[in-house]
Amino acid sequence: MPTTTYAGSAVPVDDEGFFTDPARWTEPMAEQIAKEAGIDTLTDRHWIVIRFMREQYAAKGTGPTVRVLGKTSGVSVKELYQLFPKGPAKTAAKIAGIPKPRGCI
């Protein structure tokens, strides 16, 4: 399994760079992952989504869909796409250090 080094520690990731062990994620890693995903600066709005992803993963074992994010994270679908233009659910999951969500919706 590949590993990537974030904030000075090596973490196991899958072929697409998603964390396979979310417990290894720490907040200081997020900025670096975001930059690699094409997001230069993480704003407070990004962080609302990132923390929500972590909470949902902890509660349900999988990341939320864009629809769920839009309805319950406090950030609308429109804004989600402004914050994460390359796909909110997947980009936010990567930055939040959780496995890739596999929903179709």
């Binding site: 697409e16 864009v66 629809r67 769920v68 679908v77 429109k78 233009p85 997947k90």
Partner: protein, 157 residues
Amino acid sequence: MADTATIEKVSIIVSKGSLEGIYPALIMANGARAEGIEADLFFTFFGLDAIAKKRWEHIKLATVGNPGLHLPTLLGGMPGVPDLVTRYMERKMDKLDIPPIPEFIEMIADTGAGIYACKASVDLFELDKDDLVEQVHGIITVGEFYEHAAGGQIIYT
């Protein structure tokens, strides 16, 4: 990340007005945006029902002439059966977090996907812009559709 070919843009043509004609197109457009792929939807012929205010809440599953349903044609044609089967399907979709068509169209528009109506079909059904939902970006000709679609993949559903 592996260097593989990627799809950057899709234009999806929706020409059917049945539940099973519309949903796959919506799911594929929404799924494209979820992957960061640019997406446009082009509603033509009976596909216009999906974005026509008076019709979009009355879209049904085809219970006649739909072999995929494995329902005798005679039974599928009986009064009330299309509604019953449609409601059953909608309940199942709701459990999978698939939104109803009006909400789905709104969500897809919010993802930044373009929603277009075919001018020939709008004329054919004697509709105008006010008959269509507000998320429609424009009523465009086939030629204009091809201009929008240039450089991407075209999917016909």
